[in-house]
Amino acid sequence: MVKKVQRVGLFIVAIGLGVLLIGVPAGAKKPFEGVTIKAALIGGGNYEKLYEEFIPQWEEQTGAKVIIVAKMSHFELDKKFKIDFAAGAADYDVMTNHTSFAAQYDKFGVLLDLKPYISQGELADFLPSTLHMCYIGDRLIQLPRHIDLSNIYYRADLFNDPAKKRAFKEKYGYELAPPETWDQAYDIAEFLNDPPAVYGTQFTGKEEAFTGRFYEMLLSNGGRLFDSHWKPVFNSPIGVKTLEYFKRLYQNGLVPPGVVNYVWDDVAKNFAQGKIAFHLDWGGWYPWYDDPKSSKVAQTFGYALMPEGDAGIRVHWAGCHTFSVLKSSKNKEAAVSFVKFITSKEPQQFEAQLGFGAVRKSIWDFLLKTTKDSRKLNFYKTYKYALENDEIVTPPLIPEWPAFSNILYPELQAAILGEKPVKKALDDAARKTEELMRKAGYYD
């Protein structure tokens, strides 16, 4: 009897061991075992947390190894990429890309079309407004990581002050609230302007930051930068009206007089210091503005949609950080797999919680469902509304964009400083732009 029990016991143990051995995945080969992927990625700030958290996970799942060959700011990466591509020296498989820069890189013919590697089902969760930025022609040359667009940040203490509300209604005949049109924005800036303690508003008046602000207001007023033959048309009456608006803000002292030397960090510092009643800024600044360590307006500022122009539309000049795979990659399948993984739901959710603008519908649903703080919830709702309902535009996807911007913004500055009449400044910029485009072969 004892022996029988022992035999049954041994049999059970043997079966158990067999099951265990079959179940152990040690023998199973991972899909990219032994493959090494080289990546040139944006670094600094919160960008690197994604790599620290998720690259080891992908390596574990696939057996591949990721080597980050460059971790730089986008500014530095841009120089590196252009020089590497021109010299044929890009030896990496995956690169950080950006919807505003992608056209320049694509001109070298180095970016892999991802469409054959990705099903429509895999793309379905991406917001259409962001996904369409990732195409050049019908080629999908990048997958979005996160998006940023601008809306209004305003000092709610000023906007909700009962005395100010009364006085404003008396003077302008409508309620003091975040502006819905550019004309209202001017009125409110004029009303709340109390320099040097508080300026009505501000804008980035230098470099591409100024070109972009002019561009989105021009479009919302019904204008365009170029016609269908790439001839500059921003010196139209609508262009003149748009630039006059910036000039009136500047000349009437409704913005800090230093705006022509401001880029992103300068306007952010001013708003965080409580010196600006309202202004347009990227969603990515929200966590910084809301942190009492960095901002005097933390927990008190409001967030609202960008004003609309004469054409009755809100236009957001926006851009996506993306990832691309190089055609020269010897491990295209693995490289695409890595890009798909790093832009999948879990990493996106991780980055959204760090403050980056999500590009997947499911992440927005998650954020709206789980966020309890009413201010933060308003931020997410406003952001999502803009992404789904407003015009989201990239700069024209041409390699000449940076050179064009370098032509346009000094002329915009000259106009608002009063060095040139508005029309002449725009005409001068249009003439130089036409020359640029002619030399680049657009009119042959």
Partner: protein, 290 residues
């Protein structure tokens, strides 16, 4: 005999080859590129276009403005640095208590990268949150912000202050070393003859120090192009090209706009100006050496 004749040439061949490869070849190549329409973004654009780039520059008002700004910037910066550097060096060269610590302290500005100096002075001169305007507000000296980085004259002054702060240390070091190396005999003789302090400076110190002054000026005039970082951060050459220097404009054309041909042409104009200036200084230096 033959071995002795060719041995020196043989010995310098490796270093000469390296210099040719890393200096002469790129210089010659960039000279060629300056005569082409090469754009980094347009493959096949390295086609000979004659002097078109140079003609474009001649007709470009921004180029002339940047050239004018550069000459003003260079002249004021170098001379002020020399004036301040010489004055401070004369004080530091004396045997005073704490002299060594002071000499070390005056070297501190040299330890900062120009880009950091740019960020620091950009904040100093910011119209809203800058230290200078806030100080002037606190002292009730102004009621409206001064536009340090916007007004053409003040923007140039602001970048000059930053550059002079950064560059004076170098003058101090070279001139202090020069002063300490001067022979004592002429000073003792002048003392016996009853020469005044100014006479000693005018007739002994300055002539004997001249080689050091010319060397320091030559090095600084070539090195001052590193002010690019500083200007790029503080004003970016703006607003509306008001502080555009030839180096920021080369960067704009060559790197941002990727017009390498035009950028090389403009670089060559810069090189020619620098060489002429350096040649003049070295000629003066040789004169002082008799």
């Amino acid at each position: 005999m033959i071995r002795e004749k060719y041995l020196p040439a043989l010995l310098i061949t490796p270093s000469l080859s390296i210099i040719l490869f890393v200096v002469a070849f790129p210089l010659a190549f960039s000279l060629y590129v300056s005569f082409t329409g090469y754009s980094l973004l347009t493959p096949g654009s390295m086609v000979f276009t004659g002097g078109e780039n140079y003609v474009t520059l001649i007709h470009d008002p921004v180029f002339w403005q940047s050239l004018k700004n550069t000459v003003i910037f260079l002249t004021i910066a170098i001379n002020t640095e020399l004036f301040l550097g010489l004055g401070i060096a004369l004080l530091l060269a004396r045997e005073i208590k704490g002299g060594r610590i002071l000499r070390t302290l005056f070297m501190i500005p040299m330890m900062f990268a120009p880009i950091l100096v740019g960020f620091q002075f950009k904040w100093f001169f910011n119209d809203q949150v800058g230290m200078v305007n806030n100080l002037l507000y606190t002292l009730h000296l102004i009621e409206k912000p001064i536009l340090w980085l916007i007004r053409g004259d003040l923007a140039m002054l602001s970048i000059l202050i930053a550059e002079i702060w950064r560059g004076t240390s170098f003058m101090i070091i070279i001139l202090t070393a020069g002063l300490m190396a001067l022979p004592k005999d002429p000073f003792e003789a002048a003392e016996v003859d009853g020469a005044s302090g100014f006479q000693k400076f005018r007739h002994i110190t300055f002539p004997l120090l001249s080689p050091f002054i010319y060397i320091a000026m030559a090095i600084r005039s070539l090195d001052i192009a590193t002010a690019f970082d500083l200007v790029q951060i503080m004003t970016g050459g703006g607003p509306a090209h008001r502080t555009e220097l030839i180096w920021t404009y080369v960067y704009r054309l060559g790197i941002i706009d990727t017009k390498f041909g035009l950028g090389c042409a403009m670089s060559y104009v810069t090189v020619i100006i620098s060489v002429v200036f350096a040649y003049y200084l070295f000629k003066q230096l040789l004169k002082t050496r008799g």
